[in-house]
């Protein structure tokens, strides 16, 4: 096995035992990137010079006995909607194609402080709006398992980079499934932590009440390591929750006997592919045989999750994206006649179709005369959806569902019909609405060899039990999660 194939925890051990260096690791990643990036197209920006320089410094520090943290010297990739000081941060948009932030987001900062090395910024659907990464202004990222298929989205670049072993781990963001769905499509582990557990400071906002940063990793152990590093209260984010977070690696190798798992039948119903369904049901049976209690429940409110999601997310987006007006930063249209003209041309030329569609939808939902019927109603239903989750958690420790209705689809398959594209989010969206944590992990393959993800959905701030159940299942299944790329 080559260096780039290894997991973060394996690399950490090697570094600790002086079996490799950060420079060696970083070079291995860039070599891998050189080999496969032409096919995968996971990155928008590659920061090779800075990374190698940083790796050298990291090695020097280690030599001097100064180890910054468990991840000291580990390379990483970051979704291009997290601000990185002095490094282009585009959000996959023409609008920010020239934007170099003067500051670094808190989550990335925490990883920098822990000694991680930034390899580059990954491709994404423009402003994180999409389920296939086809909405990027820059390029189309391919699924490493089948280059004719999408990697999922919106964090497609971050998922593909890990699946293609270009980076040992990466960060993505998840507003309605943008980490879990690409993790499912690319056969990697992807977690959307509890809303409020990872600071959003420096994450370019799509929908503020739903956005959450989370990691992509090759296995559950790595997920526990990265999660332990990025969670925590941030005084710069008022929605970040002040509490202590556990050492998540303690969740590994634990007994799952006696845990109660709910299977909501609405997540296994219409539109869910049979092969996907049976892979997840297989997991349910295995949990039972491991001593967990698995029962079917009903969560009827989840039927309303998709419309609620699109109203709230688009309403917030219409306001969050209003600042891209060509005045202070980013793209500015030329040859304008007036201020109004500057606004109109800049926004018409700078945004892609999907972004415009959602801004229009959100503006409408907030408009005077429509607010009560749309935005306010959606917020009321949101409360009911949250309550439904709370009710399930009165009797169960965990909810198990498929991550998405199908495996990765082929390019162009859904791009003509936005509504069908939105259906890909049907299993992931309710989780963002409720604010609870959820993780997708590979649990098998379909007949064509495409990975299938299962989703574990925990109580608020109970990432610990998600990792516990996931790690047990990972060991039980013993799948080979490596794409043939």
């Amino acid at each position: 096995m080559e260096l780039h194939d290894k997991t973060v925890h394996e690399l950490c051990d090697m570094l600790d035992n002086n079996e490799t260096t950060s420079v060696e690791l970083t070079k291995a990643c860039f070599n891998r990137i050189k080999d496969v990036e032409d096919k995968v197209q996971a990155f928008i920006t590659i920061t090779e010079d800075a990374a190698l320089k940083q790796a050298e410094e990291t090695d020097k520090k280690r030599k001097n006995g100064e180890v910054l943290g468990i991840l000291h010297g580990i390379p990483m990739a970051i979704k291009d909607n997290m601000c990185t000081e002095g490094i282009l941060t585009t959000c996959g948009s023409k609008m920010l194609s020239n934007f170099v932030p003067p500051y670094t987001s808190t989550a990335v900062n925490k990883l920098n402080t822990a000694g991680c090395i930034l390899l580059g910024k990954t491709n994404m659907d423009e402003f994180a709006m999409g389920s296939s990464t086809e909405n990027s202004y820059f390029k189309k990222t391919k699924n490493p398992w089948d280059l004719n298929r999408v990697p999922g989205g919106s964090s497609g670049g971050s998922a593909a980079a890990v699946a293609a072993c270009e980076a040992p781990f990466s960060l993505g963001s998840d507003t309605g499934g943008s980490i879990r769905q690409p993790a499912h499509y690319c056969g990697v582990v992807g977690m959307k932590p509890t809303y409020g557990s990872v600071s959003r400071y420096g994450l370019v906002a799509f929908a503020s009440s739903l956005d959450q940063i989370g990691p992509f990793t090759k296995d559950v152990h790595d997920m526990a390591l990265i999660l332990s590093t990025i969670t925590g209260h941030d005084p710069k984010d008022s929605t970040s929750y002040p509490r202590e977070y556990p050492d998540f690696t303690k969740a590994l190798n634990q007994d799952v006997r006696g845990m109660k798992i709910a299977l909501p039948k609405e997540f296994f119903g219409k539109g869910i592919n049979e092969e996907v369904k049976s892979a997840v049901m297989n997991v349910a049976k295995k949990y039972e045989s491991m001593g967990a209690k698995v029962e079917e429940v009903s969560m009827p409110m989840s039927d309303y999750a998709l419309p609620v999601y699109y109203l709230i997310a688009c309403a917030e987006a219409s306001s969050n994206l209003a600042r891209y007006d060509g005045i202070r930063f980013g793209y500015r249209a030329q040859d304008v006649e007036s201020l109004d003209d500057l606004y109109k041309k800049t926004r018409s030329e700078g945004f892609g179709d999907e972004v415009k569609r959602r801004i229009i939808l959100g503006t409408y939902a907030l408009s005077s005369g429509y607010y009560d019927a749309y935005y306010k109603k959606a917020q009321q239903v949101r409360t009911l959806i949250k309550k439904e989750f709370d009710d399930v958690y009165k009797n169960y420790d965990m909810i198990l569902t498929p991550t998405g209705p199908t495996v990765a689809f082929e390019f162009g398959q859904n791009s003509d019909n936005p509504l069908e594209m939105y259906m890909n989010d049907i299993c992931t969206v309710p989780i963002n609405i409720a604010g609870v944590p959820a993780m997708s992990m590979n649990c098998g393959f379909d007949s064509k060899g495409m990975p299938i993800g299962m989703q574990l959905v925990g109580k608020h701030f109970d990432e610990f039990n998600i990792l516990k159940l996931a790690h047990a299942m990972e060991k039980e299944l013993g799948l080979n999660n490596k794409s043939k790329l």
Partner: protein
Amino acid sequence: MAYNDYEIVMGLETHVELKTNTKIYCNCTTDFGGDPNTHCCPVCIGLPGTLPVLNEKVVEFAIRAGLATNCEIQEYSKQDRKNYFYPDLPKAYQISQFDLPLCYEGKVDIIVDGVKKDIGITRIHIEEDAGKLLHESIPGSLVDYNRGGVPLIEIVSEPDLRSSDEVKVYLEKIKTMLKYIDVSDCKMQEGSLRCDVNISVRKHGETKFGTRTELKNMNSFAYIIKAIGYESKRQIDFIEAGGTIVQETRRWDEVHGVTESMRGKEEAHDYRYFPDPDLMPIVTTKEKIKNIKDTLPELPEAKKERYIGQFGLTPYDANLIADYKNVAEFFETSIDGIKTPKTVANMIIGDIYSRFDTEEEKEDFNIPVSPSQFNELVKVIESGMISNSIGKKVLEEMWETGKAPMQIIEEKGLKQMDNQDELREIVRKVLAANPQAVEEYKGGKEKAFMSLVGGVMKETKGKANPQMVNDVMKEELK
């Protein structure tokens, strides 16, 4: 047609910058001025990914203002986004408050022409200020975000105001109060107090309000008065000519002395208010409100009444002192142990105010005489050691040199002469030198007596105890 047939109905929206050290959602300074865009950071220029964090002081200051204007305080309040595009608004939305303002249902009373009247306060909410557009120096416009994110409160009054006099008194009252409770400098020339006037007219006796127009963003009392005068006449003329007033936003054009339409109702913004998902609700406990209440100073109104009742000041003098926080403080410190606080008030108003050229100096009251020295001076006068007029001279000397009054009195030998024998000597001398005045006095001319006393005072360089001079003089003239 008679303008007198009409009544003007007005409500005010007063925007006041709070004098917190830092901005409402970031740690940038709120200092006025500075080179353009030097009081800014990623948060207050709205860079992608930045988030607001509420400055708790802003909530405290707004609640102070609410309590001072007899408002109810919302225990569960929230912040909303007001969405519109303009280059001075970096995020293209202003964080403000829509349906749950921090303070609501208050009132302040004003006195105009001796008549007291309550003006209802609909609400007070917190919000962020915008930047400033600069149209000079280059073709096109520049924008300075130094002011962006400076905390504001907006005080919305009920449509209870009926004349520009009432508006002026109301605004002065608000200004005095906010300075008193130390939440704002209210410097109109720096734009830290600006107001919008909602104005309509109707015939006397009419119970329904007329259609209103809104006069935007005025930051001088003089402009406000002129704009109200112009706009009310314009509306009356228009109605009398058979027209119907349309609801619109107008601006005061100082150069031409007219109001002009900015935008009509159709072009009015749909602000699409919704709760800001980046901020948590503002929860204020009863206990916190009480704590804030306990730190509020005695307000000018209460002070005035106390000065009149407890110290025997005239309402006029009480106003002149209580209206200025620093003066009132000085007054109250310097009357300690004084039998006649009125003397102190007279000296402040007569001898100290006369040294000031501007209202600002009065407000600052940054004088070289300390309250304890002033107190000592008044005590010396009360004891009869020096006369009032010598007192003025001593004060002057204190002002120039910063020396204590007793030191000055001793150094300059200003102690009052109250040795009766000594005085009698001098009186006799004066009488002998002015036989004509003595004659006149004896002939019934009271004035002559005063000139004889004056002679004694001149002889003693003003140090003679005036009462004693009077008594001795009368004895000698018998």
